[in-house]
């Protein structure tokens, strides 16, 4: 059974069909790319998948379970985590705390325990800190993580911190919205390695939106191309990128 199954998904804003007749199937462990020109509806697909928007039509199934129209919190608990195109970190919190917020629902102690500082507070906080550092190490962000504010990180590191925070929620499916935006070629190369590492070592299924063709052709196994809210092409990366329709949509006539 596929991890993610989307059937005939559609949403319209007024008369505009932002996404229409959208189908997508992602198998467990795949690294999948969603590409297309600006305004094609890629981020809208992410927003539909994560419950920010409710679709007008269609069904979204995660691991066989219908999650269509659920709220963002529920969808995260079902196992989808995401990053944002315009970085959305908890700016006034430390790097460490950003990841610990991601761990929020996987560890628990009561409000009373935190106010009275009961043993469960110390025990759980210690476990959370340890796991957070493990995650931060993957992204090379563990240095001074407890004392650096997220807003003081360089741009590339902020993008990585968002991925770390998303991973902390323990997702089955990770959605990355333009993870390489604003990065230089070296940083992008490093990011590609990190994404591959996550796919392998966390056994993660990843769907990403990206404009950087080097990244897309370098790591994505399959692609879907969106244009004007509709699927233009879908399949193995190489085949899709060789499709004349796709080239036309990207380069114009």
């Amino acid at each position: 059974m596929a991890l993610l199954e989307i059937n005939n998904l559609a949403i319209h804003f007024g008369g505009l069909r932002a996404v229409d007749e959208f189908d997508l199937t992602i198998e467990k462990g795949e690294l999948y790319g969603l590409i297309g020109p600006n305004g094609a509806g890629k981020t809208t697909v992410f927003n539909l998948l994560t419950g920010v928007y409710k679709p007008n039509e269609g069904i979204i199934r995660l691991d066989g379970k219908d999650i269509t129209g659920k709220k963002p919190i529920q969808i995260n608990r079902e196992g989808i985590a995401r990053t944002f195109q315009n970085i959305r970190l908890f700016k006034q919190l430390s790097v460490l705390d950003n990841v610990k917020v991601g761990l929020h629902n996987r560890y628990g102690y009561s409000t009373a325990a935190s106010i009275l500082r009961l043993p469960s507070y110390f025990r759980t906080e210690k476990e959370m800190t340890e796991e957070a550092y493990e995650l931060l190490k993957v992204f090379d962000l563990d240095k001074n993580a407890a004392t650096t504010l997220a807003s003081n990180l360089p741009y590339g590191a902020q993008r990585k911190l968002e991925i770390a925070r998303a991973l902390a929620t323990g997702p089955k499916l990770l959605l990355l919205d333009e993870p390489a935006a604003g990065m230089n070629p070296n940083e992008t190369q490093e990011l590609m390695d990190t994404i591959k590492y996550i796919q392998k070592n966390f056994n993660m299924t990843i769907l990403l939106i990206e404009h950087d063709m080097k990244l897309v052709s370098g790591i994505c196994e399959k692609l879907t191309v969106l244009n004007f809210g509709r699927i233009l092409a879908q399949g193995e990366t190489k085949a899709v990128l060789a499709d004349p329709e796709v080239i036309k949509a990207y380069l114009g006539e």
């Binding site: 981020t43 927003n47 944002f84």
Partner: protein
């Protein structure tokens, strides 16, 4: 039935004064994106200026009103330049709110020093008495308040929709940065907004004290808050909304004072506001703006 109509007309009168104040609130909010807590105290300043000119110096009424408008306009512009402008780009929007509160204290206490705390009796600026229609007795101030507020709203709508500075206001309200890229002077537009808002506050002050003739340094505070409520009620940032909000608020206040409880009228007014906001979280005429993800 007659008493109901009398109450309704009184409500309209109070409401039209709230509306004039609320429009000032709403314009400043829409364009400068700040809650000008000192707006209510500008009303008080306007009333005091008119009082001084008319009752102390025994000069003609029209001169008193003109003086109040001029002084309040200058005051509003000065406050904006000195106290608000330096904080326009502050990291927290609360900074300018607290400064506005400071300005409010400043105006109240200056008036307290100059005029003392005993209430002054303000003599109505309306030269004619009651108008009698059948069994109804309508006070002159009521008619003047309603007419003045209608004229002001009409003129303001014309100004905003038909003139260049008015269009600049609309542009600044939508997107200040984009407006400045289009060559609109944002500073000039904000100054103009404060000038218009304060001039209207002066007129509201004169009308308010003609209808409710006691004048003290805190006269403007509660009407200021109520007008703010009216602005939110109608959808903050919207001029027609402020007008409707002000009128409704005045009517609700007078009717609940007469028919339910005079002690609880404020509680009723505020409860209605809460109910409206729960049903329409951005007020009656407000637009829903969703953050883009």
């Amino acid at each position: 039935m007659v008493s109901f109509f009398t109450n309704l007309i009184n409500g309209l009168s109070l409401g039209s004064i709230y509306a004039i104040i609320a429009i000032g609130y709403t314009m400043v909010y829409g364009i400068a994106k700040m809650l000008n807590f000192a707006h209510g105290d500008i009303i008080m300043v306007g009333a005091f200026i008119a009082y001084t000119v008319i009752s102390t110096f025994k000069l003609p009424v029209w001169l008193g009103i003109v003086a109040a408008v001029i002084v309040c306009t200058c005051l509003g512009v000065a406050i904006e330049k000195i106290a608000y402008k330096p904080l326009r780009k502050a990291s927290s929007p609360l900074a300018v709110l607290i400064t506005a509160i400071g300005v409010s204290y400043f105006l109240q206490n200056s008036a307290l020093l100059i005029f003392g705390s005993d209430p002054k009796m303000f003599s109505s600026v309306v030269p004619f008495g009651n108008l009698t229609i059948g069994p109804l007795q309508i006070p002159g101030t009521t008619i003047v308040s309603i007419v003045v507020s209608l004229v002001l709203v009409g003129a303001l709508q014309l100004f905003i929709n038909k003139t260049k500075p008015g269009q600049a206001m609309l542009a600044c309200a939508q997107d200040r940065d984009a407006a400045s890229l289009m060559g609109i002077s944002v500073n000039g537009t904000i100054t103009l907004t404060f000038a218009i808002g304060s001039a209207m506050a002066a007129i509201a002050g004169v009308l308010l004290c003609s209808a409710y003739p006691t004048l003290s340094p805190t006269t403007g505070a509660m009407p200021g808050i109520k007008a703010f409520v009216a602005a939110v009620f109608g959808g903050i940032g919207s001029i027609p909304g402020a007008m409707i909000g002000g009128l409704l608020l005045g009517i609700i206040e007078i009717l609940s004072r007469s028919y339910i409880s005079s002690q609880l009228s404020d509680a009723i007014v505020f409860s209605v506001l809460i109910l409206v906001l729960l049903v329409r979280p951005t007020g009656i005429m407000g637009k829903v703006i969703q953050e883009k993800v």
